[in-house]
Symmetry: C2
Subunit: 477 residues, 2 copies
């Protein structure tokens, strides 16, 4: 019991792999949540509790003295990795978190066939409870009296209440990095499961969301499903004799750090290669994990409709689509990735000429190349079905001198960036195609005016401020 | 210009087929809406305008004097059938009404892949407009000054406003027989299409819904999407300088007529055959069109989980599942029907013995047999994903002496019947399996008490009263 600030999240700031000689190699953790948080707590002694995910992680966790993993030379906060049994982890992470809670809050279900909450699901749900309980128990062990605990995201919805039951002295925050579903959709979940998720989060003193829209949806669910008392003006939810403060903290980007990274030599050399490839053609860029909610397929289809309607652009524009691997343990994701590749190939087959590739699809992750693409983009396409925030929409304008942003109105970022973007309905292929055309034609002066405002909005709340704001909110409790 | 009361709906009270000798044969129209309305207007001289659907209908429409079809010996109200071009009809009916508006209001989309609102959809949408306009034009031609016009359902969402523009003297009602989607889901539609549907219905003086829940969802959409002024207490929507009254009219069953039909000889003989088949086993019945929203597949899966968890019922219960053909023009429906048949076969393969068939699935429509099944049921399972009302839930208790009703809370009927049913979350297989078990064990006295209250609620608003209430609401304008 020593730490006065603790973080809990599924992934941690580092991950391990076992090399051929049996030794451990270490790398920075991946994912937007992790990189933001790593920035936010750099230089503090906050304890970060995460799950061991790879075999290397498990090995590192088991041999760690006092549970603290050896950070090697990395400048990161102390880390404790939880060695949760693989079957429990798989059910909690893949089946419940990513195939149930994620689907609900992104409205992704093919409802005539899924979900089916049967006995198999009940076993998975118990694993999710066990997984959340492992975090709660570790946090209870590690937290100093009155410590502040920052629980992250949908993987850990039950942890706040579980932790409170063990340690009523602690000040607990939960933050949702996803959207939230309206009550009519959230109640696809079995009644007891829906209630357990909501009361789990309400176990926190402070429940944070990325936009007012998701915060409102959460409050609606608390009111309709739990019968909780909601004060929308003060953003509080009163339930079971406790009051939870609902917070809106629109995570942004550390602009200076991003610019520094994006001018490193590896990015510069990618830029040179891309310039060779693109020539003086206009460039439409997208950068996403291949996640169902990212809507890559409709983005490609919209580009195809754009080419069909505007032959004047043939040979004069290239769409560079980075669709990085995601959640390949889930068959739906593998099928979706294949469909994305098929669609790109169809566009290529239909429109390519000897000296023009209308589309270049990359499915292998390369951060430096993504940064280079942002810098060169004339148009950045960000069209998710639904998205907690979407940091691509914030990173692009920071790096590009002149790109126009075509942005889904269903991305959390639309609340801050909507006025200076071309907003689209992500299901509207024709509307998206028209927006791509309009974005390409946007006059230079207008681009520059918009970019300035987009940058200001995107950097308004860098990760450290975002984190400190929540810590301060907890301190005030 | 002669009729003072007019009805407009996609299907009419009769349909025609061309016999081998080239002559026309006539039959009563099918579907819940049509049979309710036929009852409601019997003996009046209301003019019913509908679309020609079959080749026989088109032939009858073309040779009809003054557009009035020859009713033969049928005791029905005058009918005019509109001979809408087949391509227009197919796009309006299959692509827009049944594959778009139906999907939206029943939350049926597999959102990562569908809908895709592209140029093809735009052509379909124009056909839907043309189809609605054909009705508006015919109504404008036929209506006497100040006549009352009753426009039915999602096929004809644009007709009220189109008609008002041609004939501002008329008093127009629209009635939605479906659920209505919450704004977050309704706005999957392209913005202009969403607005056109809402303003189309608001062209009516009176917009009716089956329950308060769907009326509220419609008002939410008007407020959020159109920015209309909504008075929830008075149930009015003010938009574009006009006020539309929102009405809630929970359509019920004419109990006496149903009982009379259900004691006819054909039903009695089906009862005898079913009794032979079932013996003294308990009987779980379901009767549905094989419509994605009816949730037949999860119903069968729940029955399988029930058998798995309760071996004490093996050999002592039979599930009689009537899944009648529906919308076989849509590939999704054909696939779903195949999946239902596969699932039933799996249950049979797994549990059947030499003297016990655990499940009997019928996919051929037979109304008399359905009525016989209602009369014999111990449990009636009605578990739609989402349903405007669901009249099966109301018909069953009228005919059965002792059946317990397992009812989806997402059916409109749950508002009236919920207190005396075993309510289930339709996505919760385990919950549905548990409800089937509980329903089978419900004590006789409790069944009888519940049946009495269910009958009262089910017959509270028979079609004729339902229709007259709306006519009266219009007269008061």
């Amino acid at each position: 019991m020593s730490s006065s600030v603790l973080i809990a999240s599924n992934r941690g700031p580092v991950s391990f792999a076992i090399a051929e000689d049996g030794s451990l190699t270490m790398a920075r953790g991946a994912g937007g949540l992790v990189s933001g948080l790593t920035e936010a707590v750099k230089g503090t002694d906050a304890l970060w509790i995460c799950a061991a995910i790879s075999e290397g992680d498990r090995y590192a966790a088991r041999k760690a003295p006092n549970g603290r993993i050896d950070k090697g030379g990395y400048d990161i906060t102390p880390v404790r990795m939880l060695d949760i049994p693989p079957a429990t982890f798989d059910r909690a992470y893949n089946s419940v978190a990513n195939s149930t809670l994620w689907y609900v809050n992104h409205l992704l279900y093919n409802t005539s066939l899924a979900p089916q909450f049967d006995t198999t699901f009940r076993r998975e749900w118990q694993a999710y409870r066990d997984y959340n309980d492992a975090f709660a128990t570790a946090l209870a062990e590690e937290a100093a009296p009155w410590a502040r605990v920052m629980v992250q995201d949908y993987h850990l919805a039950l942890t706040p209440l579980m932790l409170r039951e063990q340690r009523p002295d602690l000040r607990i925050a939960h933050f949702s990095h996803t959207p939230w579903a309206p009550p009519e959709y959230f109640s696809l979940l079995p009644d007891d499961v829906a209630a357990e998720v909501l009361t789990g989060i309400l176990g926190a003193d402070h429940a944070g969301f990325l936009t007012g829209r998701w915060a409102s949806a959460f409050m609606d669910c608390c009111e309709v499903i739990l019968g909780a008392t909601v004060d929308r003006e003060r953003r509080t939810v009163r339930y079971d004799k406790r009051t939870t403060q609902i917070g809106v903290h629109p995570l942004g980007v550390d602009g200076e750090a991003l610019l520094a990274r994006a001018t490193a030599p590896d990015v510069e050399s990618h830029m040179a290669a891309l310039k060779d490839l693109i020539g003086d053609r206009k460039l439409i860029v997208r950068v996403d994990r291949t996640e169902l909610s990212k809507n890559i397929l409709r983005g490609l289809t919209a580009y195809r409709e754009f080419l069909e309607k505007h032959p004047e652009w043939h040979g004069r524009v290239v769409h560079l689509a980075f669709a990085y691997p995601s959640r390949h343990d889930l068959p739906e994701y593998r099928e979706y990735t294949a469909a994305v590749q098929r669609c790109a190939k169809e566009i290529e087959d239909e429109y390519a000429t000897d000296d023009w590739d209308p589309i270049i699809l990359h499915v292998r992750d390369d951060y430096a190349r993504s940064l280079a693409a942002y810098r060169l983009a004339d148009v950045l396409l960000v069209n998710p079905i639904r998205d907690g925030m979407n940091l691509v929409a914030k990173e692009g304008p920071i790096l590009s001198e002149r790109c126009a942003l075509v942005l889904s109105r269903e991305a959390g970022a639309a609340a801050e960036l909507g006025q200076d973007s071309l907003l689209v309905n992500p299901f509207d292929i024709s509307g998206t195609a028209a927006a791509l055309h309009e974005a390409l034609l946007l006059p230079e002066t207008e681009r520059i005016r918009r970019i300035a405002r987009l940058r200001k909005a995107s950097t308004a709340m860098p990760p450290r401020r975002w984190f400190e704001e929540q810590l301060a909110a907890l301190a005030a409790r």
